[in-house]
Structures are given as C-alpha cells and as structure tokens.
Symmetry: C2
C-alpha cells in the first residue's frame, strides 16, 4: 500500500494509462509506431522502407538476430550469437570460437553443422479464427485442445499454400494471434569471426556494462544449392556511422519480456520463478566453471554452456533487482489498479472484471506444479543433450501418427523440418561433459524432491547419481545420428523394441512429465490466455492507443536516439573508441578477461585510435536482439546490437530511457578492425559495397 | 528396503556392530585406541608420549590445526589455515597471502591482527555433573536452561581455579561432557609463507584431489611479553620422513562429522540441509568470483571469502554424493536396525527404545524452523562482518548483566577474552565488499521468505536490497574499533541511545531471531541431546567396545599407514615428488591455477627433483585437521596434513580405508623448498634442530 501511494504521488499513474511518449516499444512490423515517429521525430517510414528492413532481417534459430548485409548473402550477427555454431565446428586442434577465423575466398568458408536462419516474409492476423474455435462453454482442457487444433490447421494450410515455414504466434499473452511465414536457410557458412578475447572483451565482468570495448561481430554467408544466396533485400553500410542524438532503428528478435503481466504474475516471478531459476543458474555456473578449470580441453568443451549460464545469471539478477525495487513494483501496482478501476466503471467491459483474479488463481496452481514441471517436463532433472534427443525420439514415435492438430505443438508438421535438422545434427557431444551434467541434474532432482520420492527412485534405479549417469550416457546409442534416424523412421515399433538405456530413462518418467504438462496447459496457460485476451481488449477500450505486445522472439522494430547518460552523477558519453580499449587493457594489467590478442598489440599503430568503437542508444531491446542491425533513416547499417547496459536489465518489466541503453558495435569500428587488424579488406569492401 | 537387504547381503551389518578393525577413528586423548594400536601395529604409546603430542598440538581459533615445532615457539600450520591471518595483514601494496613472506630475523616477524592459538592442557570428564542438573520431570526448555547453567558453573570454577580458558564440550551428540582447559596465545607473528600459487597449487580444480603438488605450509611464532614462547612441548623434525606402509599419527582438530547420527538425521541432511547449504554456497561462489574478476584489487579483497566458499562447496558436494550413495545409506540403515533390535531385546535398555523416534520428531520440528533460523539467527540474511559486529554489541549489552549461567553461551565469562579479542580486531573491512554481500543477503532473504513477508519488509525498510545495504553499510560506525569499545563498555544504555543504522537493523529482528533460537534449543537440540545420550549408553551396553565421538573441533588422535590406493583400476602411489610438480605444470601449460611462481623455474636446477613432496595415508581426518602434524612413533614430524582426497569426502558419515586418504606435505619436501627455493636456511635449521 505504501508503495502504491508513493507511485501515485510520483505521478506515475498518469503516464501509465495515457499514450507512450518515450521512445518505447518493440513494435510489430504490421503495426509500427508511425504516429509517434512522425510527431516526435518527423520521420515517416513508408511501406517499402518497412518491407526492406523486415526482409533484410534474419532470425538465428539458435537464439539471436542478424541481417543480410551484402547482395551475396553475407549475414551479420554477434560473435556470441554465433558461438553455438563456432563451438560445434571446433575441435581440440582447431578452436574457431576462441581463435577466430577468416575465409579469404568463398571456397574456404566453413559450413555450420546445424545453423538455421529464418527470414520473415509476411504476417497475417488470425486472432478471430483462433478465438472462434474456443466456445464459451468449453472446459479449459477442451479449449486448450481446440486452440492447438485450429493453430495446427492454420499453419498447415499456410505451409501447403506457400511452401514457407509457417508459425502462429501468441501475442499480448493471448490477446492476438498472428501467422508468421519464413524463408528458411540451412546451408550457412562461416566467413569471419574475431578471437573470443576481443569479441567478448572484459568477459563476464564487463558483460552488461558500459563503457564497453567489444568487437562482438561475426559474418556468415547463406547458401542455396551450393551457391551464395542473392537476397531480395539486404542492408547497405553507412560510411559515416551514427551521430550523437541521431534517430536509429533496431530490427530484431527480442526473446521475452513480461511488461503486460499482472502483479500476481510479477510477484510469482519475484518470489518463486526467479529465485528457483537463479539457484539453478548459480549451481550450473559453479559446475561448469569448476570443471572447465581442470584442463584447457575441458574449458573448450564447456565454454558455450558456461557463457549461456553466466549471461542468463547476470541478466536475471538485474531483472530480480528490478522486481525488488519498490519504485518499479509500485508503478505496476498503480497501473493495474487504475486499469481495473476503469474496467469496473464500464459495463461493456464486465467480462474482464475478474480476469486478474483468474490469473492470480492460475498462478496459485502454477506454484503447486512449478518444481516438478521444471524438473520432469522442463528437463532440469536431465541436463543432457543425449537425454533431449532420446525424449524427442520417444515422443516423436507417439505423436507423429496422431492427427496434426492433436500432437504436442513441437511435433506439428509446420515445425518438423527445423526439428529434424537439429535432431540429426552431427554436432560433437562429449561423454565426460554429459556425465557431469546428468549426474548433477539427477542430484538436483533428488535434492528438490527428496531422495526417497518414488520418481527419484525410478530415475536413479538403485544407483548413486554418478553411477546412474555413467550407465546411461556410456550405454546409449542415441549419440549416433544413424541410430537416431532409425528410431525416427521406425516409429513406435522401433522405440518399443529398443533397449537403449537413455530411451528407457526417458520412457520411465514420460507419463509423469506429460501429465504435468497437460495440467499446466489446461489449468494455467489456457486460463491465463483467456484472461489476458480479455485484459488486452479492455486495455484497448480504455487506453485507445496503439501499443506493442511483449517480446516473443518474433521480429520487432525498436527505435531511439544515440545518447549517453548519467550515472552516479557522472556523464557516460555515448561512444567509446579504440584508444579506450587500450586504456582499459592497461588499467587491468592485460590480465584475463581483459587480455588482448597479440595481433591487437602488433597492429596498434596502424589503427586510428579515435575511431568510434562501441556506442549506446535509447532503443528498447532485450535478450534475443543480440545481432540486430542498428540502422539509420536511410536504412543503412550504423551499428550492431550486442548488449544492454546494467540499467537496461529491468526492461523485462518496464521501459526506461533515463539510463537504460542498448549497446552496439559501431559500423566504423568494424571496418577499421577488419582492414587494419585482420587484413580482411575484401570483406570490408563487400560490406561497404566497394566490390 | 532394497537398500537394507543389499547391505545385509554384503555382510556390512556384521562389521557394523562389532569392534572396529580398520585404522578408524578420531580418538580422544583421554581415551586413545591403545588396544587396537598394540594388537594391530604392535605399538603402545605411553602417557608421556600422549602428553607430549597433546601439548605440542595447537588449535587455530580461526579454524584449523597446528603444532609447536621448535623450542622457540615456532608453530607450523597450512598456508590455507593461515590465509585468514595473511589476508587481514595485507594491503593493496603488500599482499602477504598472494606473494608470501619470509622474516630473515625475528625482528622482521609480522604480528597478526587477531590470531588466537589454543593449546590443550587437560581434559576432565564432567558428564555426571552435567547430567545430574537435568531432572527427569523437567520440560525440555527447563532442561536446556539447567544444562546451560551447570556448564557455565563448571567452566567458571575451572577458569577461576586455573586461569586457563575452560570449555565444556558436548561429545557423542550428548552422551558425554568433557571439560577442556587451554593455554591461549594472542601474540602470534608470521615467520614464513610461500606464494599462494605454490601453496594452493592447482587451486580449486586440484583441491581434494591426488596426486597432488602443494606446498601448503606456513610458519608462525608465538610470543608472550614480546618474547618468543618457550613451549614445554614441541615436536622434533624427522630427517627421513615416512616410508610406505609406516604407521603414522595425526594430532589435530577435526571440525565436524556426523557418523553417529540416526538415519532420520542423515535423511534430513541429505534432503534438506545439504541442498540448502549447497544452494547458498553456489550463490556465494558466483557472487564472489564474478565480483573478484572485475579488478585485481577486488580479487584481493574477496580472496579468502572465495576460498572458504569453494572449499566448502567441494567438500559438501562430496558429502552429499555419499549420502546419495545407496551403499552408504544402506549400511547406516542396517546398523541402526541392528542396534534398535538389540535395544528392544534388552529390558535394561528400555529408556532408549524410542530415542530414535524422538530424534525423528525433533527433526520434523527442525524442518519447520530451518529456513528462518538459517536466515535470521544463522545470519544468512545478513552476510556482513559489520552486521556480525553490531549484533554482538547489541546482544552483549543484554547478556552481560545477566547471571553467567543464564547468558547465551557465547557471552559466558569463559569465552569473553577470545570474543573481545575478535570483536576489537583492527582487521580491514571493505565497504564495497560489505555492500555486495549484504545486498545479496537481503535479496536472498526476500527470495526465501517472499518479498512481502513482514520480516523482509522490516529488513528492507521500503528500499531495494541494494539501496538498503548501501544505507546501513555506509552509515554505520561499528567499523570504528573505538566506537565498538564504547558500546561494549556503555552497555544497554549506550546501545539504547545509539542511532547507528546497523545496530538498528540488528535490533529490528532480534526478538524474532532469539525466539527461533530458543525454540530450536528446547524443541530440537535438547530433545536430541537427551535421546543421543540414551543411544550412547545403549550402544556401549550392546557393543561393549571403546569408541570415539563425532568430531567437534576438539583435539583428536588419528592414525594409519602411509599407503597408496587403486582408482579406476590404476595404482595411485603414496608419494609425489618435485619432478611430478614440474610435469603437471607442463601438461597444464603453466596456466592458472597451475602456474608456478617465477622463482620455481629459476631454482629448478638446484632442487633434488626426487624429493618426496606430498603423500597420502589412511588416517581418519576431516576438515579442521588441516595443519595437523603427521608424526611417527618417535613423535617426530614426518608431514603436514593439508587435505583429504575426493574419496575421503564421505568420511563425514562413514570411515573407509580402501580409497579414502589424508593428504600431507612431506617433511623432506618442506625442508628442500625452504633451503633451495626460498633461501630460508635459518628456518630450515630451526626446524631440523640444527641451530
């Protein structure tokens, strides 16, 4: 209550229920903030501008963003978005992730093992058709099934009609449904990567910090029929980069935000989900880093897992700090109270009156399911790639014979080509790391549920976690891609006949896991989706203004100004330069993770040290936006998003443009490094259109 | 049940209830295993031998063991036991912990800020007197108070009579009470420490591993009246060290084991306490290591905290793995079942029949208290030295005016001199690290109890954890030793009048914290103590044999053979040598934590690379034994305990001599390094008695 009054006093309520004035938002390409852009920035992107940017944007299915940046299919992204692919193509002898790579000619470009890129071709609103399938008298279980069916139908129709990957996306937590169609690229080759030491300069300590000095870039080339793709759209390079206070756009795929969540959901995140997640991330960080420290080869094998965990840990820690900040939660409470009051006052909105209470009730149910769901269906009890493969094979056998609309969503026809591309990937899987992870995960399950719990007893089969992990990891054949294909093709009969220990482990708890998922779907997700749909409608009726949905790893347009900020009373300038990089290295005595690759010392005198290197802007981004191009009004690349500053970590819940900033590599800094440090003139020429 | 049958089948039950045949045990000096030593090893240490070893042994109050090793008060321990003292005397300019130190003459020896050493002078059994104070019709709350009173009385009488620090120790979980009298030394000076990089060679990855290559030694000198102590007893040095299969003894202070715990308690440890502790250790490890990585000075400030956490994490992880090993838990269940059957069959033991059930009931109560107790009384919600100081001052004001027997035990007269020695320590306390720790601890409290919990609201006082931590850390004056003294001397009136924010924070939750402690004492500890006393009696009646109590950080005598073991089918030899050190460094490419200090390369050719360096023995030790001398039958130093191998981590619960080993630095390796690498001939001479 105190919080609520403070928020009121601060006038936050007023801004909350009126139109957005800040440069806020992760906007849908089919509903861009044209009015705001025109009124505030005097810029009106037309349909061609939007289509060009949309079709130049690339989604990395491994989790991140990118863009076409040459007529010959060159794709730009971050080194850390590329890390998954770099790790998979590496060996103890050739470490692409750590040491970098440059293909001086196309024939030297290295094919990725399982990298899939998607380019959004069109968006179609299908909300009415989805909602029409849900009848008012349906139970939530029936409604969930009906929803699944109609979505599968829409996707399948689209796929058959267009040949494009077609996915229906839930937006506004259930308020709208849009059909997205993508072109898929699965032959993607590495062109250039810098060394990890400069790409991720400052490592975990500098992650989410600014000033910053990271060359977090990587270039791939998309191929079709063994030839470079000639994309219909690609972004041109800006020779001049961006200037302070210039308007810039970010086109990319923010992964997840929770801004439209009710207070009950936020409290759940704050008191349960984040603490549970943080505890697991801390556990995995210690597990991976202590194992990695044992040898250089261990460090190589676990590098990408460790980075993901550290990155999430730091991001979530910032998010949790936001949820524990009375100013933020007070604002959320004030906004919700105001909206509920407006809804209560309008008889036309009566359907929505108890929507918040229904969500709160669903959250109570969620609390009772969370731990076991997370372990058994979420897979925290089986932190193992081989387990994931085994479960996919097991479930595919059961799901694929079903009518498309009745399958678990991941086995819908619309997703099968991407699924099998991953499932049959020849990526290296290391027994020792798998054993480490699975033994720890089984221990975690025993800790969470109690060692005497019947499910845990079943998982452990009378052995210690370590012995059990060794047994199934060393015994399974699912590490063999041919074996996977046999089980996939052989279906239920092949799976039934298999005595593979990992398949058996997945089988042993599948009914529990599926049942948790089903309960969660009908008693939590479906209840929430219906209630949020009503809230979304009510919000539209009350606030009138056009708005944007929470992030869902679909393409969004953000925008803002290149702009520094103030921190602890000191001005933080918008740009850093190469001189700053060398200064930071010196002040940290060149010790890891502040150590520069040798070539950066050798080539120092060649560099123009005043070249802009990294910069910040107010654009509204979040994890998933990594690798997004930063473009100017002319649609030219002026930078490459790779991070947010520490103050941006609350963007999960609220937008802020006072201190929160998106962090990018400057287009000029990239070219300077390519030419002077990496002798990659041809690549720089291709980017600059000089070829 | 399956477990139980397996254990029976393996014949474990038989060995469990008969006399100990292995070289097991952390024996009391007033009840040494004379019969076993004579029968198995043909050696009969006499009273003089025992007294000599006892009085040469030194307890480090900061947590560890040591011994007098020269007639001039030289004290030997581990570098990692000394780390707390080394850290406190260090500055950004002079890093004793990292860089080591050697005082070539006594005048250069550096006084520790707050290191207290204790030497055990005598043991008196006071079980009957303690038990006589407990009347059968007393409530457990009254019994707990009566126990406290009689213990205070005994301690006070002893202190007045002898002038020695006098502590009554609970042994056999409540089966016996012994009065220990110690000589205290508080003027302790640093003589020699090697660099951390060689003392803790291999760092966390090699911690608890073998083969091993650590020069984990440190030498202090005890002073009285500004002159080196001439101890009545000290250990002579063995020129020849120990040989394979030689009988050796370890005299030191094992901290804690849980071997006599009932199965209900072990299950509680396995399913609740260890998981809770591990989660917190993982959290702190990530917190400290990520903060330490930000700069060299951060790393220096947090070094000792980080080491403690990593060390505990690795030890507890091994312990938990033991509890999750069906073979170990099966053995425990079998032993308990057999003892209960024997008790049930003997009418004389009827008092003990339901002792196990009473413990199980107390454990159920403990479950309901654990989380909040750990946070509020255990201090997990206030991970801050300054908070600890504030709470001590607050409670001292309330406790000291009370009759001695009614005080909280830590404020008994018998402990006040040690308490104030610590409380008024001028050790450096860093605001930045304190803020980091307290903000995290307040976040942890919010996560554990929910941010809306009234206690959490009280702790946070309407602020975010970060802001609240900054407010109290930057605002408190308890960092000033003179201020502490004023509050200590001013008592309740001074504390009441103080508006210090840290004192206020401690005050704000003191009634909750004390109440949790009181409930825990009367409904958990006292119930257990009474039940364990009955089990101990029953056990004695049934098994007859003399035995040893669980470890309690009191002086114990362990013994065993210098002996290698087999691991994954390969023989692990008992000794490593200096050649092995250089080989390990090479195979790890000299990268941290396998990097050798420069002088080790410079002096390599001087060293006899065949000198024994580290070795293993079967002696029964556990954490707290670090720094214990390893001595031969002649009472000479042949080594210095510094670790156990990974297989020894289950020793918390069961002894094993198949693979579990104590790891030591060899006396010959120490002398070789002192003379050839550190030019510390005079110190080597003093140790060798050549002076």
């Amino acid at each position: 209550m105190e919080l609520f009054r403070r928020a009121l006093a601060a006038g936050l309520l007023f801004t909350a229920v009126t139109t957005v004035h800040a440069d806020e938002g992760m906007w849908l390409f089919n509903n861009p903030p044209l009015k705001h852009l025109k009124e505030k920035h005097g810029f009106s992107p037309d349909a061609a501008w939007l289509e060009h940017v949309q079709k130049s944007s690339v989604r990395f299915n491994s989790g991140g963003s990118g863009s076409f940046v040459s007529p010959n299919g060159l794709v730009m992204t971050n080194h850390h978005v590329a890390a998954d692919a770099l790790q998979k193509m590496s060996t103890p002898q050739k470490n692409y992730l750590r040491d970098g790579f440059y293909a001086t000619k196309q024939a030297d470009e290295v094919k990725c093992l399982d990298l899939e890129l998607n380019v959004l071709q069109s968006i179609e609103v299908v909300t009415d058709r989805v909602n029409a399938a849900i009848k008012p008298d349906m139970s939530t279980a029936d409604a969930a099934l009906a929803r699944r069916k109609v979505i599968a139908e829409i996707e399948n129709e689209s796929k058959e009609k267009t040949g494009l990957r077609s996915n229906v996306t839930t937006l506004f937590q259930g308020g709208e449904y849009h059909l997205y169609r993508f072109k898929q690229y699965t032959d993607v080759r590495l062109v250039f990567a810098p060394e990890e030491a400069i790409a991720f300069y400052g490592g975990d300590p500098d992650n989410f910090e600014f000033p910053r000095y990271d060359l977090d870039m990587c270039f791939f080339r998309a191929y079709e029929n063994d030839k470079p793709v000639k994309p219909e759209h690609y972004l041109k390079w800006s020779a001049n980069g961006a200037a302070e206070n210039e308007l810039i756009f970010v086109s990319g795929h923010p992964g997840r935000t929770n801004r439209l969540n009710t207070v009950a959901e936020l409290e759940y995140l704050r008191d349960r989900q984040y603490p549970m997640l943080m505890a697991r991330l801390n556990r995995l960080e210690v597990l991976y880093s202590s194992w990695g420290a044992r040898s250089a080869e261990n460090a190589r094998r676990v590098r990408d897992d460790l980075f993901s965990v550290q990155n999430s840990r730091k991001a979530r820690k910032g998010g949790l700090a936001g949820l524990l900040d009375p100013a933020i939660m007070g604002r959320k409470m004030a906004e919700e109270k105001a909206l509920r009051a407006a809804v209560a006052a309008d008889p036309k909105l009566k359907d929505a009156v108890d929507a918040w209470d229904r969500i709160a009730k669903a959250v109570e149910k969620q609390k009772t399911l969370a731990k076991e769901s997370n372990l058994l269906e979420g897979g925290a009890a089986f932190n193992s790639q081989l387990f994931g493969i085994a479960r996919t094979l097991l479930r595919a056998a059961a799901e694929r014979p079903k009518p498309n609309g009745e399958r678990l969503p991941e086995f819908r026809e619309s997703g099968l080509s991407s699924l099998t591309f991953q499932l049959f990937s020849p990526e290296p899987i290391h027994d020792d790391l798998e054993q480490l992870k699975l033994a720890d995960a089984l221990t975690y399950a025993a800790e969470q549920m109690g060692a005497d719990h019947p499910v845990v007893q079943k998982l452990l089969a009378g052995k210690s976690p370590r012995d059990r992990a060794a047994e199934v990891i060393l015994g399974t054949k699912v590490k063999d891609v041919e074996f996977r294909k046999k089980l996939w093709e052989g279906g239920q009969a092949a799976v039934d006949a298999s005595s593979d220990p990992m398949i058996a482990l997945a089988k042993s708890i599948d009914s529990e896991a599926r049942s948790l998922r089903k309960t969660s779907e009908s008693e939590v997700s479906e209840v929430k989706q219906q209630a949020y749909a009503q809230i979304a409608k009510a919000k539209y009726a009350v606030q009138g203004a056009s708005t944007y949905p929470d992030a869902t790893f679909t393409l969004r347009l953000a925008f803002g100004l290149v702009k520094g900020y103030e921190e602890d009373g000191k001005a933080v300038p918008a740009f850093t330069d190469y001189a700053g990089l060398y200064a930071r290295c010196k002040s940290q005595e060149n010790r890891p993770p502040f150590e520069l690759p040798e070539r950066w010392f050798e080539r120092k005198t060649r560099l123009d040290l005043k070249t802009p290197y990294n910069f910040v802007a107010t654009a509204d981004i979040i994890g998933g936006n990594s690798g997004s191009p930063v473009i100017n009004k002319a649609g030219e690349v002026v930078g490459l998003i790779f991070d947010g500053n520490i103050q941006s970590l609350v963007l999960d819940f609220v937008f802020d443009e006072k201190q929160a900033r998106a962090v990018s590599v400057d287009s000029r800094g990239m070219i300077e490094a390519l030419r002077k440090v990496y002798d990659a003139g041809p690549l720089a020429d291709e980017l600059s259109g000089k070829k």
